[in-house]
């Protein structure tokens, strides 16, 4: 059982968390003006790095969205960092 750390609740078992994608994968602005390749990048292409990855995760029980740095080789995960401004 891997333990992840929610910025609000602290360490909790991995099954309480849900993966939210790469950190910084922002939805393109502009609707029809956005080229197909940019939509495809946003929707379907992932960074999938070997090593350190910056990701968005959600703690399902408290609803906190946060960023987490995780090593995809060793599975070591740093404590989550709150995404909301001004939150510890």
């Amino acid at each position: 059982m891997q333990i992840f750390s929610c910025p609000f609740c602290g360490p909790r078992p991995e099954y309480e968390f849900h993966f939210g994608g790469d950190l910084g994968n922002h939805r393109p602005e502009g609707f029809d003006a956005v080229p197909d390749q940019k939509w495809a990048d946003y929707l379907y292409f992932r960074n999938n790095p070997k090593g350190m990855a910056r990701e968005v995760w959600m703690h399902l029980t408290c609803g906190e969205m946060f960023s987490m740095t995780r090593d995809t080789v060793t599975m070591e995960a740093a404590p989550g960092e709150a995404l909301a401004e001004g939150q510890p």
Partner: protein, 171 residues
């Protein structure tokens, strides 16, 4: 119309095993509060909201569910009076959330089967995944109280009954 009630088993509202009793309590007044938690607690004389497995007693207490959300227990709310009130969004939860009392010396053994949390490590939020369902858990009057979606009570009772805590020896 055909009577189909026999198609479905009716789960018990209480289960007893060796050193453990799980019982669905009569409806407990509850309000979900989002927003100004300190203001609501002060206005209603509530103690600070509790985190995971924190101890409380008596009919009135509050459980922290999230950074800006708590469950006020022991206070009822007319549905017409809900909504945005003095900086907090209030939702009556008495019907939505059942409260299950878990008592006996083996109460924590059930927790050990239902979750992988470390019960010795405090957590700011009382919310957790209990037997796969989102719920809130605290110690209350020497036992445990689990606040759970009322529609999931039959599932939880079935799940509890399937654990070895309630199975008869040899089954």
């Amino acid at each position: 119309m055909a009577d189909r009630s026999g198609f479905w088993t009716t789960p018990p509202e209480a289960l007893a095993g060796e050193g453990i009793v799980v019982r669905l309590l009569p409806p407990v007044p509850q309000i979900m509060v989002s927003g100004d938690l300190d203001g609501f607690a002060a206005a209603h004389g509530l103690p600070p909201p509790l985190g995971l497995l924190a101890a409380t007693a008596g009919p009135r207490y509050a459980l922290r569910l999230a950074r800006n959300r708590m469950l006020a227990v022991g206070i009822g709310l007319d549905p017409a009076a809900g909504g945005w009130v003095d900086g907090a969004a209030l939702t009556p939860m008495t019907g939505a959330l059942a409260v299950i009392g878990i008592t006996g010396e083996n109460a924590m053994a059930l927790v050990a089967r239902a979750t992988a949390i470390d019960p010795r490590r405090p957590s700011a939020s009382a919310a957790l995944m209990f037997a796969g369902a989102t719920a809130a858990l605290c110690r209350h009057d020497g036992g445990l109280r689990l606040h759970l979606d009322r529609g999931l009570v039959p599932w939880l009772m079935s799940w509890c009954a399937a654990t070895d805590l309630f199975r008869a020896p040899g089954n």
